[in-house]
Amino acid sequence: MSIAEQFEQKINQGDLPKPVPKFLVTAARAALWIFLALVVSLGSLSAGVAAWFMTDPVALSGAAAGASWVDLFLQALPMFWVVIALLCGFLAIIIFIKSARGYKYRRVYVVTACLVGFLALGAALASAGVSDTIDKMAYENIPQYNGLSKPRMLHLMKPDSGFIIGRVQTMDGSRLVIRDPGGGVWEVRLDRETNIPVHFKIQIGDCVRILGDASSTIFTTDARDIKPCPRGIRHMPPQPPPVIER
């Protein structure tokens, strides 16, 4: 008996299992494309935030004087967002290749298209100001994000080298009082020599980055340069004051 005849016999005897319904196939395909769209969106946003951090002129400015370009690059490299973008990119490539017709395209083209797409979308989102909002939202909604940003922040908080960052508590014409991320309160003295960018109008609550005289013993410094905190740090929530043991 041929296979066709055996097949027909099964139909007549009612032994043939029912095929997977069309709506399930359609739903599975739709779910796959929706998932791909979500992955691409998240990946683009992450790439956008990463690019936004890395193109921050403040992050690579001379405030970290003496650091090599490699150090400066690594300081500006937002590993969290880079890893998320890479993971999303990898996932998007896998999903696309596994889709019904994805195999028709060469892997190298798919990977290139993914990279270019992520960067282009990311750049568009960053230039639309979305990256700043996402960074702020991440601080507000992801508890671990604060911890992930700490290594970047620590690069900028070296009082014995004259680098301090903190949030402005009070201010007048000749001094600022700031609270650093560890909770320490610093008096920052200003004078005519203190260099502040023209466009930067310091306000209470702003995160500022000070380059001043080296200090490791008392919470006072004479500021030479004051800049806004770099991207990725400026939304860091204020820390509580340190507990003093008696």
């Binding site: 041929s2 066709a4 043939l16 095929p19 196939v25 017709r101 195999y103 028709k104 060469r106």
Partner: protein, 193 residues
């Protein structure tokens, strides 16, 4: 409805009808069973009985997933893909207990593989035996063997092979070119060409 009423439909129309009427799938089984049986035996070396079992499972798979058949694809490529995957999966499980299959019905296929090597300046001699060609094919890595069989025995185009093996056309062309070179080297070593 009886399967005989579907004879005038093409493959893709039958696949669409089979979602609601299993009888529409029977002409498809009838159209493809002989060549798929030969294909299974060529790539795996299964006995006729084993190959029939594999094919039956492949047709059942195809029927169960008939709703996922993409009408932009040729049905023949789709059913070849399912059969290929099912064969490879079973082949991996039982490759140690394979029988040698007869090559009597495959003269043309083997000749086509030999003829394909003219472009690398190798000429087939009349004394060559089909069994020797099969021996060489068996020495090739599975992917090389599959693409040569699909291209020269099943006479599939690069695009069709791409659809069956889920690979881009350019990649298929590279695989075939490499497989032909490996085949020629082995044939030269065996002194059959």
């Amino acid at each position: 409805m009886h399967s005989g009423q579907y004879q005038d439909k093409n493959d893709e129309q039958l696949a669409a009808l089979a979602i609601n009427d299993p009888h529409a799938f029977v002409p498809l089984v009838r159209r493809y069973e002989a060549r798929l049986l030969a294909y299974i035996r060529r790539i795996s070396g299964f006995s006729k009985e084993d190959a029939e079992d594999v094919l039956q499972e492949a047709f059942m798979d195809a029927y169960r997933h008939i709703a996922s058949f993409d009408n932009n694809l040729k049905f023949s490529n789709w059913i070849y893909r399912i059969t290929h995957n099912r064969t490879i999966s079973i082949y991996r499980k039982k490759r140690n207990s394979l029988n040698n299959y007869s090559t009597d019905d495959e003269d043309l296929g083997f000749e086509r593989i030999l003829a394909s090597n003219e472009d690398i300046q190798l000429k087939a001699e009349n004394t060559i035996t089909k069994q020797k060609v099969k021996q060489i094919l068996d020495q090739l890595p599975p992917r090389d063997k599959e693409v040569l069989i699909l291209a020269y025995m099943e006479e599939k185009s690069y695009e069709e092979i791409g659809d069956i093996l889920r690979a881009p056309m350019g990649t298929v062309a590279t695989w075939i070119r490499r497989a032909k070179i490996k085949f020629a080297k082995l044939a030269d070593k065996e002194k059959i060409i």
